[in-house]
Each structure stands twice: as C-alpha cells, then as structure tokens.
C-alpha cells in the first residue's frame, strides 16, 4: 500500500481521493506516461480508460485511466486534463498495450487526440458517422439523429490481395461482429478485429434521459447473459461515489444471484463450445441442465434472465425459506449432471484433440494486454475480483480460484468447469449464512461530481464501471467496461499460427460476450492469394465474362 503511494508521488502524481476501493490520482500531461509505466512495473494492469467532457464544470476535457493493482487491493484512477483549445494528451499505449482500445474510443466519442498512438483509427462509431461530431460531448443531445455520410466500404481491394469476406451474418454465436484473419496457406499469421455493430449509445442515454434509479436497468441490458453483474457493478460504483453502506442481507442476495448467473453463463458456454465442435447432443444436454438454473432464477427474481433485482442501495425482492430449499435441491441436481457430462465429454477423443494445445496465450502477453477472468486464469494468472477487491458478500465466504497453466483452450475449459462447482459451493454457503434485516436503503443524498469505481467478477472476467455523479439524481458520466473489451485484443495472439478450422473454437474460448466468432475475412498475407480459391474457380470466372 505504502509502496504504491510512493510510486505515485515519486512520479509527480497527486492523490486527490483515497477510498477503500480506489485512489483518484491527478497527474499532468507531461508525467502521465512515466507514471503509467511505473505503475505497470509495480504490478498494476490496465483495466479501462474513460474520457469525459467536463467543460461545463471547469472548461477541461479529462481522461481517466483506471489501473487495477491487485496487491494493494485498489483501483488506481489516473486523471489527466486537457483544455478545449489544446486537446492533446500523450498516449500511454506504447507503454501499456491494453490502453489501445480505450484511447481510440475516447478519441471517437470526445475528440481527444492521443499523441503517439500506434493505431489511431475509428473504433466504435459506425463507418458512416461524420467526422468531427463527437457524441459524448455535452453539447450533443442524446437523441440527436446525425445524417450519415455515405462512404465506400472500408475494404481496399489491393491489387495483390483479393478480399474474401466471410460474413457478415453467421449462425454461430448469433451476434454481428467481425474478424479479419490473415492466412499463409492453411495457417493463420495475423488477425484484426472489427466490430462494435452493437454500439447503442447507452452512455449518452444514461447522461441524457435517465435518472440514477433507471440506469441499473440499462446496465442490465448491456449483456443478456451476464447482465446482473453489470447491474451490481453500476450500483456499487454509485454506492462508492456517495459512500453508501448496503444492508448485509442485500449483499448476500446479490451474491446469490451473481453466482446463479455465473453458473448459467458457464453452462451456456459449454453448450456453445460443443456446438462449435459439431457435438450437438452435448449442446442439448448442457442446455437441458441449464434450464434448471434458469428456473431458479425465474422463481427468485421473476424473470429468466433480466433479474432486475438491484437498485442503488440494495435489492428489490427478498427470498424466503421455501425458495432457499428449492434452489438447493435444483443446484444439487445440476452439480451431479454436470459432473457426468464433463466426464463423458472429456473421454471423447475428437473433442479433446480440437481443444488441447490450441489457441495459446502466453502468460506475459496475457498480462500486458490485460486479459481478465477465465482467459487470464487459463494462462496461469491468479486474478479474481472477488478475491482481489472483495465486494458484496464475498468477503465473508470461502472459495477457491481455479488457475490452470496450459494457456490453451482446454485450460479455459477446465477453469470454467471448476468454477461451476465452486459457485454451487458458494451458493450453499450464502443460503446457510444469510443474515436477517433490511434489504434496501431507501433514502440517500447524491453529491455532485463525486467519482466512484465499481468492479465485479463477471462470468467472463473483471467488469469495471466508472461513475461521476451529478445533481438531481443524475449521473454526469457513466462508463461500463465489459470483460470482453479486454479479452478480445488477445484473440489475434491466440489465432497466430493456428489452423484455420480452429478459429471458431479459439474465438469462442474467450466467451465473447458480444461477438460472432467467425465473421472473418481471409486474406493471404504472404502471397496475396486467397485461400480456398482454386484454378477451377478461375475457370468459372472466365466463363462468366
């Protein structure tokens, strides 16, 4: 703890707010790069970055870099400011690879220029978005419709390389995302991700139309699989910002539902992976078992997926003895059946062959990209927000964090398998130890411009929300960061040198929350020739002319 403070002070950082959960550090533009480097070397990894337009307050734009320092159990928020007339901030991407997307996004939505960024391209806005319009600036209305600028497709058909777009729709993970994969013969030599088709403008929406009590429901709809963890994460960020203590019983109920969500999400993932490997019966069995978890969720919360259980200050519904018993009974069945399924499937050689030693992500690369969750734990990094930054009721509970050193798809598979049983164990403890009392704090004051950070361990990894509160029960800036945002940049590393047919399973192995695994463009990098185009096809082309 003292060490990290010393590192900050030695590098000209000024600690403004000291919270149990995070440190807010102000640093000038000249020193940010050095400080970020020093923190990274001290063991912090890049969690997320948030740009904010604070002109109405002081005439400055601000960039918040959030780093996770597990050792001292704190998030370190670096705040860098730039005036409107000189919107330049030195990029820290050359120092920490993980800052790449966050800085590009801040440029897209606010127009902050990051000097020395290696890849300054548009990231999240649609291609037909006009230049010079920045949606997250305060002078842009949340429901303003911008006239699209029609542009040619971004693909430049090179003379020596034909483009083979495999997409844009694909049945695998039922989501519109896009990877460009460069292949040499049959082997993948590089990949580029192109996505954000599902950018829905929710940050702006939250600042514009919604109040602090409505945002949890938007947060829940960031992801339809792990929505509840986003909801909790937002609530915690606001609670941290206004210094609110949540009743203990509410914390236990939150934990219970978070773990139920983790189980359902992991079983879902197993089903999808089996489907990707062509083993549909496995998919059916996994999802049949999952149905029991969904029933518990429906019984406890009233909906199968969008639990809608939390607000800032607590939870909305209580649970009784009868529900506890039903939950335990169903989970025991789930545990038994999943064990059986895992045993049977891992005995199948062709499945094992396709996930073992495939999609390697070495430990050091994993660290510098800043991957989180099962992907990190499959690469031998012992990280888990539940242990590193305890929240909800996890501080009272006993559980293990599975870590595997294989760095391949199989390791990620095993991490998730272990986590299912660990979650069931956690739920048993929660139901056993749950204290009585209130479940909600009804009245509280919301201060103006108070900064809060919340983090949860989503099924896919660390989930971070950053909030600046505003008067009148509003938020000034809200930035959710889903785990996949950190995990996706690792996919190109995993794909390198692998067989093309393994691409779906590898992309699927990070459990991409919002992407379709194989919207790929296949471009042969070395020869400029497209794979899968033989002489016969040339003949047909000639016939056509």
């Amino acid at each position: 703890m003292q060490d990290i403070k010393r590192v900050i002070e030695e590098n000209n950082g000024k600690i403004v707010v000291e919270h149990d959960y995070f440190l807010l550090v102000e640093v000038s533009r000249e020193h940010v790069r050095k400080l970020a480097r020093a923190l990274f070397e001290a063991g912090a990894y890049y969690s997320t970055g948030v740009g904010s337009d604070e002109r109405p307050r002081n005439g400055f734009f601000a960039m918040y870099h959030i780093l996770n320092h597990e050792e001292s159990k704190k998030y370190i928020v670096l705040k860098v400011e730039a005036p409107e007339h000189d919107l330049r901030i030195p990029s820290i991407t050359p120092e920490i690879e993980g800052a790449n997307w966050a800085e590009r996004e801040a440029h897209d939505v606010l127009g902050i220029v990051f000097e020395g960024h290696p890849e300054p391209e548009r990231l999240i806005l649609p291609d037909d978005w006009p230049e010079g319009v920045y949606p997250l600036r305060k002078d842009f209305k949340y429901n303003e419709k911008v006239k699209p600028v029609r542009k040619e497709e971004k693909f430049v058909e090179r003379e020596d390389a034909l483009v083979l777009p495999l997409g844009p729709f694909h049945p695998t993970l039922h989501e519109p995302e896009y990877f460009e994969i460069y292949v040499d013969g049959e082997t993948i030599v590089g990949a580029r991700y192109k996505g954000f088709f599902v950018h829905r403008g929710l940050e702006k929406l939250a600042e514009g139309r919604l109040t602090i009590h409505q945002i949890p429901f938007v947060a829940e709809r960031i992801c339809g699989i792990c929505g509840y963890t986003h909801m909790i994460c937002y609530c915690q960020a606001v609670e941290n910002a206004i210094g609110l203590e949540v009743p203990e019983r509410a914390e236990y109920i939150r934990t219970l539902l978070l773990e139920i969500e983790r189980i359902h999400s992991h079983i879902l993932w197993f089903g999808v992976v089996y489907h990707l490997l062509g083993f549909d019966t496995g998919f059916m069995h996994a999802w049949r078992i999952r149905e029991k978890v969904m029933d518990i969720a429906e019984m406890l919360t009233g909906n199968r997926k969008t639990y809608g259980m939390s607000l800032v200050g607590g939870v909305r519904r209580d649970i009784d003895e009868d529900k506890k018993e039903k939950t335990l009974k169903a989970l025991r069945e789930v545990s038994q059946e999943m064990k059986k399924l895992f045993n049977d499937v891992l005995a199948m050689k062709e499945i094992l062959n396709r996930i073992e030693d495939v999609g390697i992500l070495p430990k050091d690369r994993a660290r510098s990209i800043g991957v989180v969750g099962p992907v990190a734990r499959g690469s031998g990094i012992n990280t888990d927000v539940r242990k590193d930054h305890p929240y909800a009721a996890y501080k009272y509970l006993d559980f293990k964090v599975p870590v595997y050193n294989g760095c391949d798809v199989l390791s990620r598979y095993l991490v998730r398998a272990d986590e299912i049983f660990e979650s069931i164990y956690l739920i048993e403890q929660v139901l056993d130890q749950m204290p009585g009392g209130d479940i909600m704090v009804e009245r509280f004051e919301v201060p103006e411009f108070s900064v809060g950070v919340g983090a949860t361990e989503a099924p896919r990894g660390e989930d971070v929300h950053f909030v600046i509160t505003h008067r009148g029960s509003k938020v000034y800036r809200w930035r959710p960061r889903a785990p996949t945002y950190n995990n996706l940049p690792s996919v190109p590393v995993m794909l390198e040198g692998e067989h093309l047919a393994d691409a779906p399973a590898i992309i699927g192995s990070i459990d991409p929350c919002f992407s379709c695994t194989d919207h790929v463009t296949i471009v042969d990098d070395s020869t400029g020739k497209i794979l899968f185009r033989g002489p016969l096809e040339d003949a047909i082309r000639r016939l056509k002319r």
């Binding site: 519109p176 950018h199 829905r200 938007v218 999802w287």
Partner: protein, 194 residues
C-alpha cells in the same frame, strides 16, 4: 391437404445489436425442454433457406444495410419475427443517436430509401421473450392457437354527482379563504412562481 408452409418454418436468426438476451432465448427454444423442432421450426444459417427472420435488437445504424440485405435475400413469402422489446419497439434505447429504434422505424427507412414493402411481421414482446412466448408465436403461425393479446382501451368518465361532490368540497374550501373572492383576474407576464 396439409399446408406445408405452416408445417415447416425455417428461421434465420439475425442480431441487429441486441444485448444477447433474446438471442440466447432463440437458441434456448431449440433445446430439449421447449423443443421448437416439434413444430417443424429449424434454425438455418442462410437467409436464402429461411422462411422467416428472427430479428432481435433495436437495429443499430451500423446494422441497417445488413438487415436490408437479409430481408432482400429471404425468398417469398417473407415473415419477420420481431423478438423482444428492442425489436418490437426499440426497447430502452429507442431514441438514442445510433439506434433506429425498432422494426417499425426500420420499415420506414426500408420504404423510403430502398422502396420495399414491409413483410408480414409478428411481434413477440418480452425482455427477453420467454421461450414459451416464441413457441406461442410458432403456434400462431401454424394455426394451432389463436392470438390472445388485444388492444385495450378504457374511457373513464366520472359520474356527474361525483364531480359535483368534488367541486363542492373544493369550492367550500376556497370559499373559506377570505381573500379569494377579492382576486381580480389579471392577465400578464407571470412573475416567479413558488
């Protein structure tokens, strides 16, 4: 004679920027418990094979050309299943800057910019739509069950007596305030209200 168009419905799933909740339910409905295949419904990987598009999501701007493309590729007779709050009415993001806001807004664009008529649409509300709701939709398509949800409009008029009662109470109350009858009605720019 069996109407095979009702006995076999192949569905192409199209996510237009949804949160995944409905997408997962679209998959879920094919799993053993709901078992969509009972009604001859099958997920197909190409819109050309499909009879219906299962559309989820509020249709983000980036997805508009792609949704149009898919609808064009669908052979006649076309059906669109608008699944979930987002597809039916834009959901919680119905008016943000990158979202078209639901299938009806999209049909306007389809008509204006591409000159196409909207296909038959089935609205399946829910957030996310329960698998059973999807089965219900298939039931309606296959003529097994009838649509239950109907528009409801209630007009509430108060009894005259009731109105008079309220008015009398209030008038009495106002009357008891000695200053009120003296008020002279002045129309002009209002000053600071309370």
């Amino acid at each position: 004679m069996v109407d095979v168009l009702k006995k076999s419905i192949w569905v192409f799933h199209l996510n237009s920027g949804s949160c995944n909740g409905c997408d997962i339910e679209v998959l879920d409905v094919f799993t053993p418990r709901p078992d969509f295949e009972r009604f001859g419904v099958k997920l197909v990987p190409s819109p050309r094979h499909a009879d219906a598009i299962a559309l989820t999501g509020p249709i983000t701007r980036a997805m508009v050309p792609k949704v149009v493309e898919a609808i064009k590729a669908l052979p006649e007779p076309k059906i669109v299943l608008a699944i979930g709050a987002c597809a039916c009415g834009g959901g919680i993001w119905h008016d943000t800057y990158v979202v078209v806001g639901g299938i009806d807004e999209f049909y306007k664009i389809l008509k204006e910019e591409y000159g196409m008529d909207p296909p038959t649409t089935i609205y399946i509300p829910g957030c996310p739509a329960k698998p059973e709701a999807l089965i219900y939709a298939a039931g309606i398509l296959a003529d097994i069950i009838k649509q239950k949800q109907r528009r409801r409009e209630d007009v509430i008029r108060e009894e005259d007596e009731e109105k008079r009662k309220i008015e009398t109470i209030i008038r009495e109350e106002i009357g008891s305030r000695h200053f009120l009858p003296k008020i002279i009605v002045k129309r002009g720019p209002k000053e600071g209200s309370v």
